[in-house]
């Protein structure tokens, strides 16, 4: 899910940037440092939408750098266990398939794909029902439920399932193209 939240960060600025454009420098540096990063707690920072407050700077002894506490609003994407969302399939193999929902990767193991769907290898590997009516392949759009998340320093990785009511394929690229 995407959220609009307020975060705070202490920014260090070199004294050469002090002057009439100090604020602009700070904001530009903030965007450069923060946008595109990921933390386990807040998820992926997609975009900074505004700066709420820049506090009083504090000179650091010895270096001359100044630390400013900056409060900013941003759009983050944070996946949660139990969340249901739509995703695009990026890779299919006999272990299951990978899908992407914005910045996050989700793996759906073949144990969590309905039992009536079989893996078919070939040019376009896919999972298909015995009657061929439903097919999951690269670029398919699926609705899935996140059942687990793994967080490391710079990425969040999810495990999902489509083995539940109202989950599964919502569009078939074969039909659309």
């Amino acid at each position: 899910m995407f959220f609009h939240i307020v975060l705070e960060r202490n920014m260090q600025l070199h004294p050469r940037h002090f002057g009439p454009h100090l604020r602009d420098k700070l904001v530009a540096k903030l965007m450069k440092d923060v946008e595109g990063t990921c933390s386990g707690r807040h998820g992926f920072v997609v975009a900074i939408t505004g700066v709420e407050d820049i506090g009083k700077g504090l000179i650091r002894e010895g270096t001359g750098f100044v630390t400013f506490p900056v409060k900013y609003q941003c759009v983050v994407f944070r996946p949660f266990k139990g969340e249901i969302l739509e995703a695009v399939v990026t890779m299919v193999n006999k272990m299951g398939f990978f899908a992407e929902a914005g910045p996050v990767q989700i793996f759906v193991s073949n144990h969590l794909i309905p039992d009536d769907m079989e893996f078919q290898s070939g040019d376009v590997p896919n999972y298909t029902t015995s009657d061929g009516s439903v097919k999951i392949q690269k670029e398919s759009e699926v609705r899935l439920k996140i059942i687990g998340t793994r967080v490391d320093a710079t990425e969040i990785f999810c495990i999902g399932t489509i083995k539940d009511d109202f989950l599964g394929v919502i569009s078939d690229p074969g039909g659309a193209l």
Partner: protein
């Protein structure tokens, strides 16, 4: 931190105090925000548009693909309409993103609707979904 890592479960709205109180965004709302930001970046002199992160690009592609409503007025209306049903932000956005067709589907996708007596009868869920589909129809 409130120990949310242990018990996290969106189906029961256990997403941590911080996110429960935060404003959730539907995909269509994110699409509008990112589009706006994208335009701003392109107007910047030092080629700001070249520097967008992969996270930004992927998110933008995602929300463009999965926005149910395109027109900003409709997007606003969806939020207004859903706000009348005493939903938690997270529920509101899940419904707005997935647009379920039936009450059963809505309750399966957002299980937290069931307890608490906000939706004693399916009629109320149906009415809400109907309101949503009307917005889509007249978009």
């Amino acid at each position: 931190m409130s120990g949310m890592e242990e018990e996290e479960n969106a189906a029961e709205l256990k997403i941590g105090e911080e996110f429960l109180k935060a404003k959730c965004l539907m995909n269509c709302e994110v699409a509008i925000i990112l589009e706006h930001k994208w335009e701003q970046l392109q107007h910047m002199s030092d080629g700001g548009a070249d520097q967008v992160s992969q996270v930004f690009e992927k998110s933008q592609a995602y929300v463009k693909r999965f926005s149910r409503y395109k027109n900003p007025d409709a997007v606003r209306q969806v939020r207004e309409t859903l706000s009348r049903y005493s939903l938690v932000e997270f529920e509101l956005c899940t419904l707005g993103n997935l647009c379920p067709d039936t009450a059963d589907e809505a309750k399966a996708l957002v299980p937290s609707l069931v307890p608490g007596g906000r939706f004693d009868s399916d009629d109320r869920v149906d009415k809400m979904l109907n309101d949503l589909s009307l917005i889509k129809k007249f978009e």
